[in-house]
Symmetry: C2
Subunit: 412 residues, 2 copies
């Protein structure tokens, strides 16, 4: 497959007239006047910008089905009156269509890989594979449903080695899993060299609880169990101390920050300045659509930049370049993915229509992607396969209708 005459970003500047050659799920060449030996129709890249596919570092994709179902509530009534009763009724079929709906949306936002934590991970993996996205999928584990833990190892065995799906272990949080559960989760992850995906220090209440009961922060507690390492994706980390930051950095753990969800649920603003100074690898996630309510990493980039600037009164920090780096390079590093517009990297990319007024004047493309972007993803490619072209995703309408049916069934 050949993308002809597309613009790319080099040293922060738009460079038009490049060709990208793709073969066998990889980018095989990038340059000018390239030739394709396959019979595929070339993709016309004129007026478009190619970017590496974005990574959504944290979501619960099946919950896309619950978008708009319960907003603007206090946390406990939200969970007790709305989310938990609905989740008790959720079937595999609901998860299947919820995930497909979330995949549609992510394709439209130029996201080519996401990291998920939810029930029915096999169904999530199957629906994702059908949609063609790359994903790190962890079945959620917590003590209220002890049967979940036993399902993790077989799930990992079923999906290990898949070209798109990487199975992972998803202990929900330090406050919902016992020490024993966390240790078993770690054993499974170690056995398979798999990632652990966990909510960590999301709320002040959570951290205060640990400090009072264990004399340790949740970060220190997880470290005492040996969970902090480069295969950890620690999500939120809103209420972490400078000591926690240096500990996470020393252990090479990754943090996934979800600013919009944290603001909407009033959890607070994560200390990204301290995390960055400590050298933690921070990337971005949207969280689920029931607490955000969309899955746009572009939106997350802007909100993260401006919320962080304001929180620390540092207009020059959290620059567009830093945030773009978080959303791209840091995310690739966190998930160990070879992503980027270069030969040998995965052919996971998006083409963006530059003829949208929010990209003009064409002064500073990274700034425009972070601060101005308001749509225009035209083409999304994963593993060398075109999932959306000219804004068209085959089968989109059926997925919307099925998702609606499932939602109506769930809430009836």
């Amino acid at each position: 497959m050949l993308i002809k005459n597309v613009s790319i970003i080099e040293s922060g500047q738009l460079q038009p007239g490049r060709d990208i050659l793709i073969d066998g799920g990889k980018i095989t060449n990038l340059g000018r006047d390239l030739m394709d030996e396959s019979d595929d129709e070339p993709i016309d890249g004129r007026g478009k910008l190619a970017i590496p596919g974005l990574i959504n570092g944290h979501t619960h994709l099946a919950m896309t089905l619950l978008r708009g179902y319960a907003d603007d509530m206090e946390l406990m009534p939200w969970l007790q009156e709305k989310i938990w009763p609905l989740e008790a009724k959720i079937t595999e079929e609901d998860v299947f269509w919820g995930v497909k709906l979330g995949c549609l949306e992510q394709i439209r936002f130029g996201i080519t890989c996401y990291s998920d934590m939810y029930y029915f991970p096999d169904t999530t993996a199957q629906a994702t594979k059908e949609m063609g996205l790359r994903a790190f999928i962890s079945g959620v584990v917590f003590d209220m449903k002890p049967e979940l833990l036993a399902q993790v190892d077989p799930f990992i065995r079923r999906w290990k080695g898949d070209d798109l799906i990487t199975p992972a272990v998803g202990p929900h949080a330090a406050y919902t899993c016992s020490e024993e559960t966390l240790q078993k989760a770690k054993e499974i992850a170690d056995r398979h060299d798999a990632m652990i995906h966990i909510h960590l220090s999301e709320t002040r209440e959570e951290v205060d609880g640990f400090l009072l009961s264990k004399g340790k922060s949740p970060v220190e507690y997880l470290d005492s169990l040996g969970l902090l390492n480069s295969r950890l994706a620690a999500v939120h980390c809103v209420w972490i101390s400078p000591e926690d930051c240096y500990l996470l950095a020393e252990r090479k753990a990754n943090v996934v920050s979800c600013t919009e969800s944290n603001l909407k649920l009033t959890s607070g603003i994560a200390p990204l300045n301290t995390m960055m100074k400590a050298g933690i690898n921070v990337c971005l996630g949207t969280d689920g659509a029931s607490s955000n309510n969309n899955l746009s990493i572009f939106e997350e980039m802007k909100t993260t930049a401006i919320a962080q600037k304001n929180a620390y009164h540092t207009p020059a920090d959290f620059s567009a370049e830093q945030i773009w780096h978080m959303a791209t390079e840091n995310a690739s590093r966190a998930f160990g993915l070879n992503l980027g517009l270069r030969p040998g990297a995965f052919a996971d990319l998006a083409l963006i229509d530059l003829k949208k007024p929010w990209f003009w004047p064409q002064s500073n493309i990274i700034s425009h992607l972070v601060y101005s972007m308001a749509g225009g993803v035209d083409t999304t490619i994963v593993n060398g396969k075109v999932l959306m072209q000219s804004g068209v995703i085959p089968g989109e309408e059926e997925i919307l209708e099925k998702a609606q049916e499932r939602f109506l069934r769930l809430t009836s």
Copy 2:
């Protein structure tokens, strides 16, 4: 003109199958199976949602030309090294194309009316009229350029009574205009029954300065000069006290809140909770593209809701319905516009393509518009004239290119 089979929002719910009849710049009927006596081709509204046109309560539209030119800087270097030197070179021709670029973008965001403050208000008015948008335009006034004040009355006389342009008076701020200038601005506004558009209590430094030098907050100071009334659009109001809030409410002054600009420039978070309790009419603005960096009121709605929720730890407050009300009803009230989907109202509206995944499941349309919306404005109509249909704005490409030329000239 007839819009057939469109969905509207009634009591917070999607109601499909309605027709909207437009004649002479007004909505003349809204119902089912309406007939159009004109020869116009009806607009197919199936799968689309009609909303009243949005109002951008504060911007400097010509500065769209400076989008991305200087981000991520401290305020004073930003002004002194970047913005002021460039503004010293700005010509009417630059303003003309900068405004047209900003109009394009606003049309794409479903904005049908905006309130502007900048140099060359005649040029801004002319470019806006050519683009077909409605606008409240004030020439900026401050003491460093004393000639600006003398231009206000003639500008108002030239545009008063225009069907789209409402001229207004734009003293920049209480700290950049002397008492005498503010009094003269008020006299001109009173003479013409015009609005006053002013930046007010944007930064803590500004407020501290007034408290120290005058023993009054900027709000109290403007009140002592008689400027607080229902024709005032006071922009930002980040650093206002509860007393200021009650004073603004008592005088029926309007506040335009610009959350994204305030966060990006690290000015702080406005006390919207106190403003709402005091009964102030609060609406939303994007500010200029050099400090935001786009002109989306949808984005502003979401950021306002979640930043306010988090700031006051009130997840149930600043609900989607409240924010939607601010952006629509409150904005209409602030600018005295008869907007809404009802007979007799201005035919200023937008049609949104509901077949985007972020609107599914179709559970709570107001929530989706505020929290999930990520594009899909299909048609924008102002004063009964179609400015964009099926995402196409005639002449868009020429405007993008001219804006690029002007930007390159300015920065060469």
